[in-house]
């Protein structure tokens, strides 16, 4: 069953076509990696799908709902959560508050008179333990190491309890121990039946984690299939590795 459909999506920035009639579909409950050389449009794709950027043409179908315009604040409604290539934490807030802010009430009046703080706190504690940042809960996010920052971003996404995770370069700059941690979280999510769309430059990890790989180049669709099949194709190697 297809959970996301990208249909002829285009996006340009001042004459540069970042995405050109890009189309592909994402299967529910698996890890799909989107790969391509630098500048292929991977992060732009993440941004347009989450409303961080508008797209010029095309349709984004979530489940059965076709969208021609996406607002960032509608993401939880479609049960999609994301992380960012350049980590975007709430820097001058504590690690715990970074997670709590995702968990608590959206309605303003309810947020002022928050009734479920104990429940939310317990959930936040659980997430922090899962990502290994429990000990750091009272530290400001800006004081975390790079790897811990990446983990906290993943923790915030977990707090949303979405159906679809969009992970943008979650492994870049991580020490091997943390890579292991993030990989195990992704495997757990897949076991829970969640859908993961992963952007990464690390081919080894992509081969290990992905059920399906989609290759894009210059904002257009190039190839898709099983990791080993796709990543050994001549046109993919030429586009991706310049070989």
């Amino acid at each position: 069953m297809k959970i996301l459909k990208i249909q002829n999506i285009s996006k340009h920035f001042e004459g540069v076509h970042a995405l050109s009639k890009l189309s592909f579909e994402i299967e529910k409950g698996v890890i799909t990696s989107v790969v391509g050389p630098n500048g292929a449009g991977k992060t732009t794709l993440m941004n347009v799908l989450t409303g961080m950027e508008t797209f010029d043409n095309g349709t984004f179908v979530v489940g059965d709902i076709p969208l021609t315009k996406v607002k960032p604040r509608e993401m939880p409604m479609y049960r999609i959560a994301r992380t960012f290539q350049s980590v975007r934490l709430f820097e001058q807030m504590t690690v715990l508050d970074n997670v709590l802010v995702v968990l608590t009430e959206r309605n303003i009046l309810s947020a002022i008179f928050e009734k479920h703080s104990k429940y939310h706190e317990e959930r936040a504690f659980g997430i922090l333990k899962r990502i290994g940042l429990w000990e750091k809960r009272n530290e400001l996010a800006e004081n975390l190491s790079y790897g811990q920052r990446k983990l906290l971003e993943i923790g915030r996404a977990l707090a949303m309890e979405p159906e679809v995770y969009l992970f943008d370069e979650p492994f870049s700059g991580l020490f091997p121990e943390m890579v292991k941690k993030v990989k195990s979280i992704m495997k757990e999510l897949r076991e829970e039946g969640k859908t993961i769309v992963l952007i990464s430059h690390n081919m080894e990890i992509i081969r290990e984690l992905s059920d399906h790989v989609i290759v894009i180049e210059s904002g257009t669709f190039l190839a898709e299939g099983k990791p080993d099949d796709v990543l050994s194709r001549k046109d993919v190697l030429e586009a991706y590795l310049g070989e």
Partner: protein
């Protein structure tokens, strides 16, 4: 003693202004330079309704709150289109517009002549005519405003405000309608400024537009930056510091012919030094 009470009342009024603005600037990161506009609306509404319609202070205060809430809602709707420097500039523009209305709508505000002989607050027949009683009333309002603001700041709502300050686009991805949050806190800040305005009008018993110009907004902004952004105690400390410092400099003993200028110079210098060595303010936790 009267002099100390006078300074304490002024400090209370500016502490209320500072607390309200800190919710907007310190917590939410909206660099508003329009605070004096709502301070003025509260002042004028209270003065006009008390003088022209014989309304009790507490009713006039509520009317001021309603006027400020409506004005800030409309102004906030426009301001929500702007960010950062542009937000500051647009809010400054609104302060100038409101100030111009105070100055030029003479049939209502008496323009530059101001409104004299405004009555003191009265409660169950007791008139707060003596300054010591007015100080008690002011302190009660400071405590109420402080309590409400701490409650807001510590709530989930307050946490979202901080997240908006840190990265508005990122918090939107988690399902927050940040425009509504920003508008709500802007209105709350304006309502608190209106309360300060009502107190000011009935304490000084005379108001004119000069008390509500852009420089007044900048002064309140200085209070919260100096006291510490996103720290409500800091707003009280900042008000105390900025009201008392110029007064303390009166006792330094500068030669009388240059005393006023020297006081200004030392006052400015102390502020610059403080910002150099303590950029987060006296009590601050958040750095601009």
């Amino acid at each position: 003693m009267e002099y100390i009470i006078h300074l304490a009342i002024l400090t209370s009024i500016f502490a209320i202004l500072g607390i309200g603005l800190n919710l907007v600037v310190g917590y939410t990161g909206l660099l508003s330079v329009a605070h004096a506009a709502f301070y003025g609306i509260g002042s004028y509404a209270t003065a006009i309704f008390m003088k022209s319609f014989g309304v009790n202070f507490f009713i006039a205060l509520l009317i001021g709150i309603i006027f400020s809430a409506i004005a800030s809602f409309l102004i906030g709707l426009v301001l929500s289109r702007f960010k950062d420097d542009y937000y500051a500039l647009a809010s400054l523009g609104f302060n100038i517009i409101v100030w111009s209305i105070f100055l030029n709508w003479q049939s209502v505000t008496r323009g530059p002549l101001g409104i004299p002989a405004i009555g003191r607050p009265e409660l169950f027949g007791f008139v707060f005519s003596e300054n010591i009683f007015f100080l008690i009333l002011s302190l009660i309002f400071v405590a109420l405003v402080f309590g409400v603001s701490v409650f807001i700041g510590n709530s989930s709502f307050g946490r979202v405000l901080k997240a908006i300050r840190e990265d508005e686009k990122a918090i939107q991805v988690f399902g927050y309608n940040t425009q509504m949050y920003k508008l709500t806190i802007f209105v709350i800040g304006a309502v608190l400024a209106s309360v300060a305005g009502s107190l000011y009008a009935t304490y000084i018993t005379f108001i004119d537009p000069t008390a509500f110009n852009v420089m007044e907004s900048v002064f309140v902004l200085s209070i919260i930056i100096l006291g510490g952004l996103a720290n409500l105690k800091g707003s009280v400390i900042g008000a105390l510091f900025l009201i008392l410092l110029p007064e303390l400099l009166r006792f330094v003993g500068f030669p009388s012919d240059v005393a006023a200028q020297m006081r200004q110079l030392v006052y400015g210098l102390l502020l610059v030094l403080l910002m150099l060595y303590r950029p987060q303010g006296l009590m601050g936790e958040y750095k601009l």
